[in-house]
């Protein structure tokens, strides 16, 4: 793909003799609330609240803080207040582990922050728990092959895999990817999540049948070096691998898909997608999942 990009870059350079910044009014309507929220019977509610920025602004990393720590976040079940979600104390995260969440119940959130327009999400439901079995094959010293057998369920069409390791009392992200070509899995709706330890997939490839999902997990962890002259030290094999296989809902998948924004020359060749949001009066997503967890000690 880089080669194609190279070609297009050359073409653009050849065709385009100059660039010019434009003075545009981009219709920024002031700061609004951004919600990234999920609920699940296993983990409760994990809600991050932040705010939007003017797209034509200049932002310095050391002073930029988008997170909102004084929000009033309320979770409703069938339009009845279920719980006010309390602030975790950092990163704009509002957490509540002890929640009883059930299927066939319509949940939604409201978020109030002083100085911002109030935001509420559309209603969502908890998806069915994925029926999975994990079969492990140790490929070599630094790689596991895990075949995940997924029984298709007409009420669960979107899935997410998250791979983590455990080393020296720390949770670390492990590189996990489906075995086969990217194009092969792309047809199945595969989308990378932005971090290397997971991806989303739809059931486009395995409707009405049991599906075998061959997965490769790198079990070595490159611990950042304390010596600033070295970037990494030797990789360390983690002590434990945790795979979370989740059934999610369309809203989560759509948010990931539409957040893939074309950049650079790519802009000239495809239209950006309209960014998914099920937040009324703000932006972001409110999603739900159920997960089966596989833990393998090494």
């Amino acid at each position: 793909m880089k080669k194609v990009i190279t070609l297009l870059g050359f073409t653009i350079l050849f065709l385009t003799n100059c660039f010019k910044d434009l003075d545009y009014d981009l219709d920024f309507e002031g700061q609004e609330i951004v919600i990234r929220g999920t609920i699940s019977p296993q983990d409760g509610a994990i809600i991050q609240v932040s705010h939007t920025l003017d797209p034509e602004g200049t932002y310095f990393f050391d002073t930029l803080d988008l997170n909102i720590n004084n929000a009033i976040v309320k979770l409703y079940a069938n339009d009845t207040l279920l719980q006010q979600i309390s602030y975790s104390g950092k990163n704009g995260l509002y957490l509540e582990e002890d929640l009883t969440l059930n299927r066939n119940v319509a949940y939604h959130l409201t978020v109030e922050v002083e100085g911002f327009p109030s935001a509420r999400t559309e209603k969502i439901e908890i998806p069915q728990l994925p029926q999975t079995t994990f079969n492990l094959v140790r490929e070599d010293e630094n790689e596991l092959r895990i075949d995940i057998e997924v029984a298709d369920n007409p009420k669960a069409s979107y899935y997410q895999l998250v791979a983590n390791g455990y080393y020296d009392m720390e949770v670390v992200e492990l590189y996990a990817y489906p075995i086969g070509t990217y194009e092969q899995w792309e047809i199945c709706g595969l989308i990378e999540t932005g971090s290397s330890n997971g991806f989303h997939i739809t059931d486009d490839c395995f409707k009405e049948k049991t599906f075998l999902f061959p997965l490769s997990v790198q079990i070595e962890y490159f611990q950042p070096s304390l010596d600033s002259s070295l970037f990494f030290i030797e990789p360390i094999i983690v002590e434990e691998v945790t795979l979370r296989f989740r059934s999610t809902i369309k809203e989560r998948y759509d948010f990931v898909v539409t957040s893939d924004v074309p950049e650079g020359i790519d802009n000239a060749f495809r239209e950006p997608a309209i960014t998914f949001s099920n937040v009324i009066g703000g932006h972001g997503y409110f999603s739900a999942y159920q997960e089966t967890v596989y833990i393998h000690k090494l």
């Binding site: 194609v4 050359f10 003799n17 920025l53 003017d54 797209p55 310095f60 060749f269 239209e271 309209i274």
Partner: protein, 764 residues
């Protein structure tokens, strides 16, 4: 329908009375080239006829009369006729001063509605910019017609997309109409005799596209003497020759190449010297060839050939890895046509045509340890046969009956990848399809002030064991209150069995032509148009005002965020949204000056153009990529003296639409809420050119042209994008930035700004 048949019977009954039937061809006296669209008018009977694309006419008049034969740029002839006969006429070219006077003399005013016609004489009077007259750019300077952006090739007619134009070169379909991303048209003006663009009220003869028909006819070749011309220019150079091979056969040959890629030559020299760095170049060529053979007085045979290619190679070598990219694309068309003037009232045409469009991208990456590559090819090929029988009933009526059969072969995207020099994956498919159509078209002048063009086309398409069958009614009704004014209403139902998948708005070579398949239905449209045309001041001026409404359905587009460029391995049918709708409507104003030292036109279009797809823009209507509210053109050609001529184009149009974010939810994460919510800056361009015509010491015609494209040097947008760019600030004491962050900007890329050029040509 009963009324129509009653009128038909009345008209046909008039043919039973003893009449004078005239037929024949009208030709250029100097070259013997037939003249398309020449007028034959019986003064006393006030009846007329127009020559067809083979120069043939048929006219039936009730009594002896004086005929007036006229054609743009030629002397008008008057002949007294008192008996039926075959009458072939040669018209001498008018002197320059007379050309200005006779410009569009006697052209029926109703023919100026819904149609743009550029004859051989008018071709000479079009502005010469960048060293030559560009037919596509000239068409785009008339109302209702535009091109995308600079750097794209698409011709956009009445809100249509680039694929919705049926472009025919001597009967063969041309899929790619431009070289160098729209910089030059594939139609070498030296080789072209006549161009006609229909944008509404389509005759039933034409089908398979929704928005326009562009019929380009090549010169048949001089029948009387050999003529040659060479042209040297900054952008391109060409060679043209024509002449008789014997008493019955003539030929025409032209070839053209561009060496614009010389701009990239220094980078190649530098690359060759260092074996490191980057280099890119470009070149193109095209060639036209035609043979015409007069079998006898009635039968003719034509062979036409066109081949053109664009080649864009690029190379880079960095850190021991050599990447090579070779992009080329082009057309080949070929046609054999046979015509037979069976008798004075019947004219038959048979065509066998072939066309091939090919796009090929090869990328290789080599190093000491790797030899990988990718080959992406897309092509389509048509083999078409057409037959048409024209019956000039003699009652101011022409009935055309015909049919066509086209075998299509599509390869929308064949991909091969190479690893270590071996093919490790090959994908892609060939889709075979067959289209066929039968039609009948009746053009009837019911009275001096009322004419009707009624047609019915039965269009069919067979692919993957599925058939699509449509009846397409066509209608135009012209009311002519006087010889100098006309009101015309048109209706056309059209179906299109091919789509262009484009992520750039049309025109880049990596746009993929894809067929209608069992899963992807054809595009459909219904267009209504009404126009008024008025000749003024003895045809020195013409004013045409038109309005149209076009509804399109079953359109396709890329799914949100998808691009064939970045999904070249995927099945294109997986990447598209289907069942899109489109509505486009607007008004067109055209004021043309035909006489005097100053000729030219002023055109203005006010239009709206919207689309609706279920999964794009949350099922809400949004402006189409080239929705342009205002489109204004002013074209002027001023004859300063017998030797000097000044040409100028001024173009203004509303900027194209673009999707830009309304907020950021992370420093690098823009939020888009509406498709095409903003507009690029308006497009503004002024071209000027001076042409010097003189004779050299050998008596040969010499022409110098000096021109400035985009004389303002305005940076018109090629694309507009949003960037959230990283920046870092350093001081002199540390390699670590003391400040870093992101800055959001909207920027535009410009394809071409001010571009001077010259050309020098000699005819001998």
């Amino acid at each position: 329908m009963k009324i129509y048949f009653s009128l038909l019977l009345v008209c046909l009954s008039s043919t039973l009375v003893a009449q004078i039937v005239l037929s024949g061809t009208i030709k250029d006296k100097a070259s013997g080239e037939v003249l398309i669209g020449a007028n034959i008018y019986a003064l006393g009977n006030q009846k007329g006829s127009v020559t067809n694309v083979y120069g043939f006419y048929s006219l039936t008049i009730p009594a002896a009369d004086t005929l007036v034969i006229s054609y743009v740029g030629y002397e008008t002839k008057r002949i007294f006729i008192n008996a039926s006969k075959t009458l072939s006429i040669e018209l001498p070219t008018a002197l320059l001063q007379e050309i200005e006077i006779t410009a569009t003399a006697n052209q029926p005013v109703e023919e100026k509605i819904g149609k743009v016609n550029i004859s051989v004489a008018e071709l000479k009077r079009l502005p010469i910019i960048l060293g030559e007259t560009d037919i596509i750019k000239s068409l785009a300077l008339t109302p209702g017609i535009s091109i995308g952006t600079e750097g794209t090739t698409g011709l956009l007619v009445r809100g249509g997309t680039p694929d919705q134009n049926l472009v025919l070169l001597d009967g063969a379909t041309v899929y790619n109409i431009s070289h160098l991303f729209g910089f030059l048209s594939v139609f070498n003006p030296d080789a072209v005799k006549e161009v006609t663009l229909l944008k509404g009220a389509f005759p039933a003869e034409y089908g398979g596209r929704l928005s326009s028909v562009v019929d380009v006819r090549m010169k048949d070749g001089n029948k009387k003497e050999k003529k040659r011309q060479y042209k040297l220019g900054l952008i391109s150079s060409s060679w043209f020759s024509e002449g008789p091979l014997n008493a019955k056969t003539s030929y025409m040959f032209s070839a053209r190449t561009s060496y614009l890629g010389l701009i990239g030559l220094p980078s190649y020299i530098s690359f060759a010297a260092k074996d490191e760095g980057q280099a890119v170049t470009y070149w193109m060529y095209d060639t036209n060839f035609k043979l015409h053979h007069q079998l006898n007085d009635k039968e003719q045979l034509f062979y036409s050939f066109y081949a053109g290619n664009d080649i864009l190679p690029a190379i880079e070598k960095i850190a021991g890895i050599k990447n090579k990219v070779n992009l080329n694309w082009g057309n080949i068309t070929s046609s054999i046509r046979y015509t037979n003037a069976i008798n004075s009232k019947l004219y038959a045409t048979a065509t066998l045509a072939f066309n091939y469009f090919n796009y090929r991208l090869k990328v290789t990456s080599k190093s000491a340890s790797t030899d990988d590559g990718l080959l992406n090819r897309s092509s389509l090929r048509d083999v078409a046969t057409r037959y048409k029988l024209s019956w000039y009933t003699g009652a101011n009526q022409t009935i055309d009956i015909g049919g066509e059969l086209i075998q299509h072969s599509y390869k929308p995207g064949n991909v091969k990848t190479f690893t270590d020099g071996k093919v490790d994956r090959s994908s892609g498919e060939t889709i075979q399809a067959l289209s066929y159509a039968l039609y009948i078209n009746d053009k009837i002048n019911l009275s001096r002030w009322l004419s009707l063009n009624l047609g019915l086309r039965w269009s069919n398409y067979q692919v993957e064991k599925r058939g699509y069958h449509y009846l397409e009614p066509r209608l135009s009704l012209a009311i002519n209150p006087s010889n100098s004014s006309s009101v015309k209403f048109g209706y056309s139902a059209m179906n299109q069995f091919v789509h262009l998948l484009t992520a750039s708005g049309g025109g880049l070579p990596n746009d993929i032509w894809v067929p209608t398949t069992a899963a992807v239905p054809p595009q459909r449209s219904k267009q209504y148009s009404i126009g008024y045309s008025q000749d003024l001041a003895n045809q020195a001026w013409n004013l045409t005002i038109e309005s149209y409404y076009k509804k399109m359905s079953q359109l396709i587009d890329f799914q949100s965020g998808a691009s064939i460029v970045f999904n070249s391995d995927s099945d294109w049918q997986e990447l598209i949204e289907q069942n899109g709708e489109g509505i486009t409507y607007g008004g067109e104003f055209f004021l043309k000056k035909n006489k005097g030292r100053l000729t030219g036109w002023l055109g203005y279009t006010l239009s709206w153009n919207d689309r609706l797809f279920q999964n794009i823009n949350q099922n809400q209507w949004f402006p189409a990529k080239y929705d342009r509210r205002h489109d204004f053109e002013l074209t002027a050609n001023y004859k300063i003296s017998d030797r000097w001529q000044f040409s100028s184009n001024f173009v203004y149009n509303t900027g194209f639409v673009v999707t830009l974010p309304v907020a950021l939810i992370e420093p690098y994460q823009p939020v888009f809420t509406t498709r095409n919510n903003k507009r690029a800056p308006d497009y503004l361009r002024l071209d000027v050119g001076f042409t010097l015509n003189k004779k050299n010491s050998k008596g040969n015609e010499v022409q110098w042209n000096f021109s400035l494209y985009n004389a303002f040097g305005r940076r018109n947008p090629f694309f507009v994008e949003y960037r959230s760019a990283y920046f870092a600030e350093f001081d002199n004491t540390s390699i670590t930035p003391f400040n870093e962050g992101v800055r959001g900007t909207v920027r535009q890329g410009t394809a071409f700004s001010l571009l001077p050029s010259f050309s020098y040509s000699v005819k001998f």
